[in-house]
């Protein structure tokens, strides 16, 4: 049994962070069989977080964010070719170029792509960008070098806010349009959303909340945009930051529980089929995976977090080469970070899984604080602003379902320890998808009713 799981053919679809880390772990755990990585981009795996930060600032060229490969993989790389389908009975991945790749075990790590601007003609104009890939970043950075008169950022989630921050740091005029009441509100709730709004404005952003962009203007080139409140602006560049779309279309006929919310898998990263039966040879990890988490009532979580991609890929890889009793669950507490407008924001837990929030350390006034989130009297998340070193303490409170609010006595507790409503909006009122989403309990995609966002 042991020998069998260390041999055979493993195919990893998706050659970004999760795919690479899984491949490394497979080899580190003694997998000696044939290993194939399939990726639709031309490049070997590269890091995406810098694309909206250092790359836009011109501090790091976009082609210098390659991920380090920490060991010899001895793998077949099929780069620049998209997976187009999966035959789970014949155990083959079908490629867009007509070839197919047989496997004994498969890891799905196809991640997400940027949600495009819905009007295709407008999206095709010069000056209209999304930001997800290296090419996106090269193109956008080049346009920013040409000093556009104004940049419009559509959507004030993390990516949109980071882009706006980079533009301001380069001295460019920026308008940010957000359908919700404040930037970051979909991930962090009202209190920190308000702080983010204040900071954006203090940094000179023309921030417009509660509005949508009704039209991008121009012929071949973008010249401006119209808003739902009847106003308009001139702009040379528009960056569409409306969140991400999960790359699951290629699995539509596979019979797996795969859909717009991701590929549903169990705590051991094994994919479910559409009837809720767990497979034993198909695994999922990273942004594309949707998995149950005991800290959040076993609801299925979809995360777009760097750290989750790494941790989940390692668990998936371990479980691909270890028999049942040796398998491990993926239980890490979700965590992510962002840097924008001089702030270092870090989060542990799921802030949107909350009804109350309290500023446990520091103060909003100084923009240095820890906000702790609670749900029905237990701690479920904490977000630090310029104070990341305290987060481990709160992570432990989350893991142990400690009572909310957390005990008083922090040396730098400044504000009233009285909890406030966490004021987490319904994702439907946001213009961008949340980077953390609880997506209910059911693995069966047929039972998921989806309404397109209006």
């Amino acid at each position: 049994m042991l020998g069998e799981s260390r041999g055979g053919r493993i195919v990893v679809v998706g050659a970004s962070l999760a795919g690479l880390r899984a491949a490394e772990t497979l080899r580190a755990e003694g997998f000696a069989g044939s290993l194939t990585l399939i990726g639709d981009e031309e490049h070997p795996p590269y890091d995406r977080p810098p694309l909206s930060k250092q790359v836009l600032l011109g501090k790091v060229p976009a082609d210098r964010t390659g991920l380090p490969q920490r060991r010899r993989l001895d793998a077949h790389w099929k780069l620049g070719v998209r997976a187009a389908g999966l035959d789970p009975v014949g155990k083959r991945v079908l490629l867009a170029d007509g070839a197919d790749v047989p496997f004994d075990r498969l890891l799905i790590a196809t991640g997400t792509r940027a949600r495009p601007w819905p009007n295709l003609d407008e999206a095709a104009m010069d000056g209209v960008f999304t930001l997800r890939t290296r090419e996106d970043a090269v193109g956008l950075a080049k346009c920013l070098d040409a000093r556009p008169r104004r940049v419009l950022v559509v959507g004030a989630g993390f990516t949109g806010s980071e882009i706006a921050s980079a533009c301001r740091e380069r001295g460019l005029d920026v308008t940010v349009a957000e359908r919700g009441p404040a930037p970051l509100v979909g991930a962090l709730g009202g209190t920190l959303g308000e702080l983010a709004a204040k900071l954006q404005r203090a940094h000179g952003v023309d921030l417009r909340c509660g509005v949508t962009v009704t039209a991008l203007e121009g012929d071949d080139r973008l010249t401006g945009a119209q808003f739902s409140d009847g106003t308009r602006i001139d702009a040379d560049i528009a960056v569409i930051a409306l969140g991400a779309v999960r790359n699951t279309e290629w699995l539509a006929e596979s019979g797996l529980a795969a859909g717009p919310r991701g590929v549903t898998c169990d705590a051991g990263c094994r994919a479910f089929d559409m009837y809720g039966i767990v497979t034993d040879d198909i695994f999922a990890a990273g942004d594309v995976a949707r998995f149950p988490h005991p800290l959040f009532e076993y609801q299925l979580l979809s995360l777009e977090h760097w750290g989750n991609a790494v941790a989940q890929a390692e668990v998936a890889a371990h479980n691909m080469v270890n028999p049942g009793p040796r398998r491990r669950p993926h239980l890490t507490v979700p965590a992510f970070w962002s840097s924008q407008f001089g702030l270092n924001i870090k989060s542990v837990g799921v802030p949107t899984f909350s009804d109350q929030v309290v500023i446990a350390q520091g103060s909003l006034k100084d923009a240095r604080l820890v906000a702790v989130y609670g749900y029905r009297g237990r701690v479920t998340a904490a977000v630090s602003v310029n104070q990341a070193r305290s987060l481990e303490y709160y992570e432990r409170l989350i893991e142990t379902a400690a009572p909310f609010p957390p005990p008083p006595g922090a040396a730098d507790q400044r504000e009233s320890p009285v909890p406030m409503p966490s004021d987490v909006p319904d994702p439907k009122v946001l213009s961008h998808g949340p980077t953390v989403a609880l997506t209910g309990h059911l693995p069966d995609r047929r039972l998921t009713v989806l309404r397109p966002a209006r």
Binding site: A360, Q361, G362, D366, R368, V370, Q387, R389, S390, L391, E392, Y393, R396, P407, P408, G409, A410, A411, D412, Q413, R414
Partner: protein, 405 residues
């Protein structure tokens, strides 16, 4: 609850060469109140949790029974190592401006060549001598020279501040059972004298900037403002002492450990790329700082089932946590290639070691060069004679015979 005397035994000089069996006893017994009223914590996960717990103060003035000398009118106020946020954060940030990222990202990396040169000069001084004291001939002068260059302190003044430094270190030695008042008074005096000395050096640079940290303290103002003259004194004293008294132990403990593990020594000679990991393992296996003696809970805090009352002295035994079998597999084995080695050698949390990047670089270069230049080094006595302090633990001398050449 019966009071324990374990802390007395740990600090007793007779156990300095090998405190590890006592640490094992501490982990076994769990958190216990000592007969001097303090609480010792020796298990990794509990220490790590307390290092991140915002209710644990580093400011001794929060103790229910304050020490007599620290609050004396003529004493310098605490430096940032003895303060809590937000004050700690402000002062540490101002000091970091001229030491590391984001404002001065290249300072330490830029010292690589200079440190290598200092190391090679010291090794050249071994010429013609069969017996070397690794401490006095190498591991002490190296970090002193480096911290002096970095701060902008004349190396010739070393004999003066060595005396002050000795008195300051003795002043915070928490060894119970001896009358500490005289030691603490002497420590307070020495700290003040060193502060005045460094403050004067800094003031002379005001308006005459040079490329060192004292100059930056008085000449560079950032968005967070600038250190006051008094804060310049307390910060400079802290950095000089820390740069002076800790890395010496790391290098010496490192050489001692390698000489006790010849197979590791040989491996590192042939595989220099392994040195950064070996230094991390040294920080776990024989850390230069064995305990953090000055923490105090601001509320009653439960640690491993024991309530530590607000205001009690709380002592975190980092070196014991580093040997906790619940965190590290085979913890008493020195493994220069150890993986998953998140040791407590530099502490953790908001007070995590300010100078860690410098200490790492100095030790990596120092040990590498020693291994390349000593043919068949041999320990003259094992265990060597140790320094008195149970906090900053390391040999007072480490005599080796060079062999070969």
């Amino acid at each position: 609850m019966a009071a324990d005397t374990l802390f007395q035994r740990i600090t007793d000089y007779t156990h300095r060469a090998d405190p590890y069996p006592l640490y094992a006893e501490l982990r076994e017994n769990g958190v216990a109140r000592q007969d001097d009223g303090s609480y010792l914590v020796g298990t990794y996960h509990e220490i790590a949790a307390l290092l991140h717990d915002p209710r644990i103060s580093s400011d001794r003035r929060h103790r229910t029974a304050p020490d007599e000398t620290a609050g004396a009118a003529e004493a310098l106020p605490p430096s940032f190592i003895g303060l809590d946020d937000p004050e700690h954060h402000r002062l540490r940030g101002l000091a970091m401006r001229s030491f590391g990222p984001p404002h001065t990202p290249d300072r330490i990396d830029g010292m690589h060549e200079e440190i290598t040169r200092i190391v090679r000069d010291l090794i050249a001084g071994f010429q013609g001598r069969e017996r070397i004291d690794v401490v006095d001939d190498f591991a002490y002068p190296l970090p002193v020279t480096v911290i002096c260059r970095l701060l902008g302190v004349p190396t010739e003044d070393e004999p003066r501040f060595r005396l002050w430094s000795d008195a300051i270190v003795a002043g915070f030695d928490p060894t119970p059972g001896e009358d500490p008042v005289e030691r603490q008074r002497a420590g307070t005096e020495a700290r003040k004298a060193m502060g005045l000395y460094l403050g004067e050096l800094a003031e002379r640079r005001r308006g005459h900037p040079s490329d060192d940290m004292l100059s930056a303290f008085v000449n560079d103002a950032g968005p967070g403002g600038q250190l006051t003259p008094l804060e310049t004194m307390t910060t400079a004293v802290l950095l000089l002492i820390a740069g002076h008294e800790t890395t010496v132990n790391l290098i010496t403990n490192g050489m001692l450990t390698l000489l006790r593990h010849p197979e590791a020594l040989e491996r590192l000679r042939g595989e220099p790329a392994l040195m950064p990991r070996a230094v991390e393992e040294l920080l776990r296996f024989e850390p230069p700082v064995h305990m953090l003696p000055q923490r105090t809970p601001l509320a009653d805090v439960e640690v491993a089932g024991i309530t530590v009352p607000r205001g009690s002295p709380l002592i975190l035994m980092l070196a014991s946590g580093n040997r906790d079998p619940r965190r590290f597999s085979d913890p008493d084995r020195f493994d220069p290639a150890r993986e998953d080695n998140q040791h407590l050698g530099f502490g953790s949390g908001v007070h995590s070691c300010f100078g860690a990047p410098l200490a790492r670089l100095e030790t990596q270069i120092a040990l590498h060069e020693l291994l390349q230049h000593l043919d068949t080094p041999r320990l003259v006595e094992d265990p060597p004679e140790y320094r008195r302090s149970p906090v900053l633990r390391g040999p007072r001398h480490l005599f080796i015979e060079r062999g070969g050449v």
